[in-house]
């Protein structure tokens, strides 16, 4: 069977904050694409791949796993001045709700990023399988 190419993510209308849906052929891909959507919120152009951080997170269900996964990038953003761009080596344990990955990007001060994301929220959040594809929805507080 040929793999169908689908769009990675799309932004939805929300009055005050930023809402997006991400898609994937697999659960791994939907997590990765959710992260890419968040990175796009931070900055919408190319970021040099000069720095890398290894991250490991746990959750109690798919939504809390996604929340905690995405929150890692806010913590790196604020505490390490790190602007993420790409995810590498993503490993996801669906049963134990665990993720490990490497995130690559660059020093934030080298870019004119325009949005500071305050928090990931649970408002309307989901991660689920629809027919053969995975889809997530996230609202971030900006």
């Amino acid at each position: 069977m040929t793999k169908v190419l689908i769009e990675k993510f799309k932004f939805l209308e929300h009055t005050a904050d930023i809402k997006f849906k991400a898609f994937g052929n697999s659960i791994k891909e939907v997590f990765e694409n959710s992260a890419l959507a968040l990175f796009r919120v931070f900055y919408d152009k190319k970021v040099e791949e000069k720095k890398a951080y290894k991250i490991k997170v746990k959750g109690n269900d798919l939504e809390s796993l996604l929340y905690n996964f995405l929150e890692e990038f806010l913590v790196l953003f604020d505490s390490k001045n790190f602007l993420p761009f790409r995810i590498k080596n993503l490993e996801l344990n669906e049963k134990k709700f665990k993720i490990s990955a490497v995130v690559v990007g660059d020093e934030l001060s080298n870019y004119n990023a325009h949005v500071h994301v305050k928090a990931i929220t649970y408002s309307g959040m989901f991660v689920k399988k629809q027919k053969n594809n995975w889809v997530s929805q996230v609202l971030v507080d900006v």
Binding site: T15, V75, T121, Y122, D141
Partner: protein, 476 residues
């Protein structure tokens, strides 16, 4: 058949609508909108009013003020009050930007003084006060110093030499929530916040030099130290990454302890006020509140240093400093009986009338100053708190204009470059973190501040004292 929430609203009197109690709601909803604005009320924000009305121990009404719009869990522009025995405290009812707040400074300069050096003033403030995404603080501190700030707030910084006693006395809670316990703040929250004290941040945060364009009540304006054509300065910012992480940390803890399965929205997670976790959250939240007070205190100190270089004889005093996103214990009359309750204000301002002990002595006879920032190109207002607010809205009023256009459609429709040109035409100088952030916060994405202020003034939940017009804006 399902009936839209908007269609269920019943007009009680001018500017007051009720969302009647239905299954699951413990109290009705109340929204304070004009007839003109009620037509455009967001369906989802009314659903959120309903959801909040379902929470345990809520008293009287789930309230939406004239600037209400959809938030996460609780709406923005919402007020909810809970019984101390049966009620809950909710991080989502406070918001992630704990104590996002506004401080107004008065100067002995006039509009004409500023106009002579308008660009110079803007450039100097922009250089001195870090704003925008990822511009860190110039204030270095270690963890034990940060802990003292978390527990001591603006008061601690003043004692260290960063200001005057009147600065914190003219701040809500006198610049320090005394229940703060730094031990309740996580290591991650500390890491996110330690490099950010004295920074504006991005989004809707700003620093503005304005002038008093109009006075509506000269007696009270005099008490607030305001007169026509006087130059004033407004600071809008919050508790930065530290406050955001505290909210997130306690949402997770509460989910683990109580589960979220029965909630109408996962963001409404909460803990009983009396529970250990409820107390822990409150004490951590107080740390974020203090951090935000200290943040503005440090910015005030830098503003004084910067302005003194250009205007050697300048004096700058704090008019007042008010909180937007906060939970507090206050006394209110519930069905004619005085009761201590837990008030959640999310995108709402306290608006106490004359006599309340919480108000600084200098203002106690007239009521507290209420500061309502407009948008970049429009007016901001100073109002005064009232007894009527204590009757209708648990001593609360609006916090700003409230957004009407999403950031994504703003980006499609508005170019930051055009926003700058428009503002320049009106005589306003501006510096922004990026063109994009300027376009996203352009005046047309907000409700009309004049209409919002008119409603609260007509309702009497705060009364107009002065209108301010911007001259120079530093935008995050």
């Amino acid at each position: 058949m399902f009936k839209m929430y908007k269609e269920r609203l019943i007009k009680i009197e001018k500017n007051i609508y009720e969302l009647p109690k239905e299954e699951g709601m413990k109290v009705p909803g109340r929204v304070f909108f004009s007839e003109k604005m009620i037509k455009e009320i967001e369906e989802d924000s009314l659903k959120q009013i309903r959801n909040v009305a379902m929470l345990p121990g809520i008293l009287k009404y789930s309230i939406g003020l004239a600037d209400m719009h959809v938030g996460y869990g609780f709406p923005i522009g919402g007020v909810a009050v809970f019984d101390l025995d049966k009620g809950i405290i909710s991080p989502g009812g406070v918001g992630y930007d704990i104590n996002c707040s506004v401080r107004l400074l008065r100067t002995n300069l006039t509009k004409a003084d500023i106009l002579k050096k308008q660009k110079e003033v803007l450039d100097a403030l922009d250089r001195k006060i870090p704003s925008g995404v990822g511009r860190g603080s110039k204030f270095n501190m270690n963890r034990s110093e940060l802990n003292r700030i978390l527990e001591g707030g603006a008061k601690y910084l003043v004692e260290k030499g960063y200001g005057m006693k009147e600065d914190y006395l003219h701040t809500e809670e006198e610049g320090q929530m005394k229940d703060a316990k730094a031990s309740k703040v996580s290591d991650i929250a500390i890491r996110r916040g330690i490099g950010q004290l004295g920074t504006l941040g991005a989004g809707n945060h700003f620093l503005e030099v304005l002038f008093v364009e109009d006075i509506f009540n000269s007696e009270i304006a005099k008490v607030f130290g305001l007169k026509k054509n006087q130059a004033v300065i407004m600071i809008h910012c919050g508790s930065r990454g530290l406050g955001h992480q505290i909210a997130s940390d306690y949402i997770k803890k509460m989910e683990k302890e109580y589960g979220f399965e029965k909630l109408p929205d996962r963001e409404l997670i909460n803990a009983p006020i009396k529970s250990q976790l409820g107390k822990d959250y409150y004490e951590a939240m107080c740390c974020a509140v203090n951090f935000a007070f200290a943040n503005k205190q440090l910015i005030t100190h830098w503003i004084r240093e910067t302005m003194k270089e250009m205007f050697p004889k300048i004096s700058i005093d704090v008019v007042y400093d008010i909180c937007h996103n906060i939970a507090k214990f206050e006394e209110h009359f519930i069905d004619g009986k005085k009761q201590k309750v837990c008030v959640h204000r999310k995108g709402a301002t306290r608006s106490f009338g004359p006599g309340r002990e919480e108000i600084p002595k200098a203002y106690r006879d007239v009521g507290q100053p209420v500061l309502i920032p407009g948008t970049m190109g429009t007016a901001s207002y100073v109002l005064v708190g009232t007894k009527k607010a204590e009757e209708l809205t648990f001593g609360s009023t609006v916090h700003g204009a409230g957004r009407v256009m999403s950031r994504s459609s703003a980006l499609r429709k508005i170019r930051g470059e055009d926003t700058k040109k428009q503002l320049n035409k009106k005589g306003i100088e501006i510096k922004a973190g990026s063109w994009k952030s300027l376009g996203e916060e352009s005046p047309e994405v907000y409700k009309d501040i004049e209409e919002v202020v008119k409603i609260v003034d007509e309702l009497g939940i705060s009364k107009k004292i002065a209108r301010l017009r911007p001259l120079a804006v530093v935008k995050g």
